[in-house]
Structures are given as C-alpha cells and as structure tokens.
C-alpha cells in the first residue's frame, strides 16, 4: 500500500453532505456532516447524521466529525505501526471515548439537543479501522471476481428498534454499549465509501429477510468517478452534488445525504 512518495497520502478523498428535500422545503439546514484528515501514514474519514428531532443537531454532527478526525488521527498517528487485531479495536474505542468526552464537555447539559450518529474509518498502513454508532454505513471496494470489482458492506451496529427512523446517538446514555468496531487487514482494499442512512436505500440492496449488500451499480459509479487521476475537478464535485440532490434519490429517501469516498491513487 505504499505510493512512490512516502510523504504523500496514498488516498484520493472527496465527499459532501447535502440537505435533503424535506429540509430544503422547510428551509432547515443540512443536519448531516462529513470531514476527513490525511497524512502520509494515516487518513481518517468521518460522517455524522444529526437527529432530525433535536434542535441543534446540525451543530452536533459538525462537532462530531471535527472531533473524530482530530482524535482518531491523533490516536492512530501514535500507533500507526500497530498490528491489526485487538490493538486496533482498543485504539478505536479509546478514540471514541476521547470524542465523547470532549463532545459532552462542549455541549454540556444540553448535549441531547446535539444528538448525532457517527461513523469513522481510519486508513492506516496495514489495516483499516471502522467505528460506528447509529445507522451510518461503510462499503469497501476490494478485489475482483470474474473480472468484476467486488464490494463489501462492513457490519453495522445492531438495529435499535423495529422502526428504521430510530437509532442510537453519540449522546445516547448507553452509546458505548451500541458502538461497533471492525478491523480489516486486506491489502486489496482500494476504495472506501462512508454514508449516513439517507443513502441506505440507494447504496444498499435488501434481500428477503433484510440482509443488506452493496448496490454494485451505485458503488461502481461513485468510485469510478473518483478513480480519475489528479485532483477532483469542480465538475466532478458538482456531479456528485447533483446525484445526491436528484429526485431519483429523493424518492427513495428525502433525508439529508452524505457521501464521503476514498480511492487508492494509481500506483506509478
């Protein structure tokens, strides 16, 4: 997973959050947020979905992704040579603990007003760490089968309720109990996509019984457009925005939408 230049991140990263149809119609701000940070040794990507029912959730989601990129990157930088496995799970949990502590300190007694989900991916050399609270999701691109790129949905935390619009938040009293972590060690991973539940219907397919799998045509398209070498162009940025705001996606889910994607830059 090493590029030609050791000082440069091997990942090309791009994404955005856009307000959904319902919020736009009601003149409400986008309550989703995403952020990332990158260095030569580690990249951290984070997405968050502020609770529609809470008054300051758009601030909550922004604060969550800012804190996540900062604290997960700091923890990962001091331990980038950690071997995949238990040590990575612990690193993720410790970083989450840091995030929660600062989040609750900053929001104080009104923390519940800032309720938000949080999904984080840490891309380090030799491993990929994933932590999620709430209903965000992560799809990886790794390997080929019969010439077809393969996509994999990382496991999500258990559903909190029968109803799809009810989930667990960073600020939920027992959030730590609902946190899900993964450590993936696979040099074949060359694409990572993070999203909030606003894209769950577009990006994931459901089989009878509810088992989820990536919508291959969706994953193909959003990775393909980032595989183009060089910096992300204004028109590529605009294209993703147009996709996320399209009526076609709105009909599936009128909520805010977030897509943060990373692909491994082509090896020289």
């Amino acid at each position: 997973m090493t590029g030609a230049d050791e000082r440069e991140t091997p990942w090309r990263i791009h994404g955005m959050s856009v307000e959904g149809y319902r919020h736009r119609r009601q003149g409400l701000p986008c309550q989703d947020a995403c952020a990332y940070t990158e260095s030569a040794s580690v990249a951290v990507l984070a997405v968050a979905d502020g609770a529609g029912s809470r008054p300051r959730s758009e601030e909550g989601s922004r604060l969550a992704v800012e804190l996540a990129t900062e604290h997960f990157a700091r923890r990962a930088a001091t331990a980038a040579d950690r071997r995949p496995g238990q040590a990575v799970h612990e690193l993720l949990e410790d970083a989450f603990h840091d995030v929660c502590k600062v989040f609750l300190d900053r929001t104080g007694a009104d923390a519940a007003d800032f309720a938000t989900t949080l999904t984080v991916v840490v891309l380090a050399r030799g491993w990929l760490g994933h932590l999620s609270v709430g209903d965000g999701f992560v799809v990886l691109r790794a390997g080929t089968e019969d010439g077809e790129r393969q996509f994999h949905l990382l496991p999500q935390p258990a559903a909190a309720s029968e109803y799809s619009n009810e989930t667990v938040f960073l600020t939920s009293p027992d959030a730590a109990r609902w946190v899900h972590t993964d450590c993936v060690s696979d040099d074949g991973v060359d694409g990572v996509l993070l999203s909030t539940d606003g894209l769950a219907q577009a990006a994931l397919n459901r089989s009878g019984g509810g088992a989820l799998s990536p919508n291959t045509s969706f994953a193909e398209a959003v990775f393909r457009s980032l595989d183009v070498p060089g910096p992300v162009t204004a028109s590529a940025h605009e294209g993703l925005g147009t996709l996320l705001r399209s009526d076609r996606l709105t009909a599936l889910n009128a909520d805010d939408k977030t897509l943060l994607r990373a692909v491994l830059k082509a090896r020289p």
Binding site: Y21, R25, N205, A211, N215
Partner: protein
C-alpha cells in the same frame, strides 16, 4: 413549494440501477360511511380524498414512502379498499397502495356503525403489512391509523353496543408497544358519549371537530407522516395534533 431539484441523474451516474426499497409508512384511513354521513358530509369527504391524493402524488418525499389503505364502516358492514377497488372479505390481497399510485374510492353513505370491527380490521391489516414488509426485507416507519366518525359504535342491526369496550385494553397495549399511532377524530354532530369512546381509544390523539374538516384532517396525516420520516419525538406529533385541533395549520409554519 415545488422541487427545484434536477430531474435526471448526471451522465457519469446514469447507469446506476435502483431498487424501489424506500422505507415504507403504512397509513390506514378508517372512515365512517354510515347513514348519518349521507349528503354533504360524504361529498366533502370524497372531495377531500381527491384533493389530498393529488397533493400526495406531488410530494416527492411521501409519494414513494407512504402506503395508503382505506377501511370503511357503514353499508352492510366493514370493508377494505385497495384504492378505488372494494376488496371482497378475506381477499388475499393487501389493501395498501403506494401513495404515488393511490386513487381514492368513491364512497357512498348508508348503514350501520361497526366502528369496533373496523378498528380491528385496521389493526389486522397493519400487522399483516408489517409482516409482508419484513419478509421482503423492507424497512418501515411506525404506521398511522386514522379513525374518523360522527357517531357511536353500533352492532350489525344498528343498535348501540358496548362491545367497543373490548378494544380499549387491546388498543392501549398496542399503542404502548408502539405498533402504530392511532388518531381518533369525531366530526359533525358527534355527541359527548361519542367523544368519550374516541378518548378511550386514543387517549392522546383524539379530537372533536366542528363540521367536516376532512381536508385539514388529511393534511394533518401528511404532516405526521413527514414528522415520522424525520424521526421526530412524540412532542412534535402532539404539537401537530394540538394545532390541528385548534384548526391552525401547524405544518404551514
């Protein structure tokens, strides 16, 4: 406000294939069409259903998510409708129609007020629909049942009956378990006793309204469906409902 979103996908994403797996929100309109609704009231109801249907079709966020079923009580008893089509009793067909395909039935008023049986049928079709959605792997929101009546429960011969008492503990359990939200609305000349029945059925979401404000009622159901999709807390539903009761359009503000 009309959507100003681009109608088509950008060229680079045009080959994405989507399944129709929007999260579903089952909505049952459980409507009194007994003889007391004859004349202007039933006409007002038919008109309101037609107008609401148009609005629902135009609402991008509800049209692929909300599924509408109509249950009526009147005439010879209790009936389920699949859009405009009256279903035979125990027909193996779901009465739920996706909102973007829903067309309202033309209702005529006659007969008795089998309110208890209509609510039982409403609960039954909601439970059956949830099972179908689960089996096909689709997610759903908490369903809504909206009971609308201008009278008191009767038996099949049109005599007042106390059989509705059997429903009270059942509905209390179901609502406590959050299996659906029940709205119970009295219209027209509903009596104090009629109102008490509705209060027993839906302690939080009951109302006694002047006249036949079906338009506002259906708009309130849409507003609640929107709140449900947003994951709003109970206080939001209570606010929408209380503003509806005082006939101020909360969903406009």
């Amino acid at each position: 406000m009309h959507s100003d979103y681009p109608p088509t996908l950008p060229a680079e994403y045009a080959d994405i294939e989507f399944e129709n797996n929007a999260q579903r929100l089952p909505l049952v309109l459980c409507l009194d069409i007994s003889s007391s609704m004859a004349g202007q009231p039933i006409q007002t109801l038919n008109n309101a259903l037609a107008e609401w249907t148009r609005e629902l079709h135009d609402d991008v966020s509800l049209s692929y998510s909300v599924e509408v079923a109509v249950v009526t009580f009147g005439g010879n008893g209790v009936a389920a409708w699949r859009g405009p089509q009256l279903l035979a009793p125990r027909a193996p067909v779901s009465p739920f129609v996706p909102a973007h395909m829903f067309r309202p039935p033309q209702l005529a008023a006659a007969g008795v007020t089998l309110m208890t049986e209509a609510l039982e049928l409403s609960m039954h079709i909601v439970a059956a629909r949830k099972a179908e959605l689960r089996a096909s792997g689709l997610q759903y929101y908490r369903p809504q049942i909206c009971l609308v009546t201008d009278g008191l429960p009767t038996d099949a011969t049109g005599h007042l009956t106390d059989s509705w008492h059997r429903l009270v503990p059942v509905l209390a359990d179901e609502q406590r378990a959050r299996r659906f939200r029940l709205y119970a609305i009295g219209v027209g000349g509903i009596t104090d006793r009629g109102e008490q029945v509705l209060q027993s059925f839906a302690p939080k979401f009951n109302a006694r309204l002047q006249g036949f404000p079906f338009r506002e009622l259906l708009q309130m159901m849409s507003a609640s469906a929107n709140a449900e999709q947003k994951g709003a807390g109970d206080e939001v539903f209570e606010k929408i409902f209380s503003q509806f009761k005082t006939q101020r359009p909360a969903w406009e503000s």
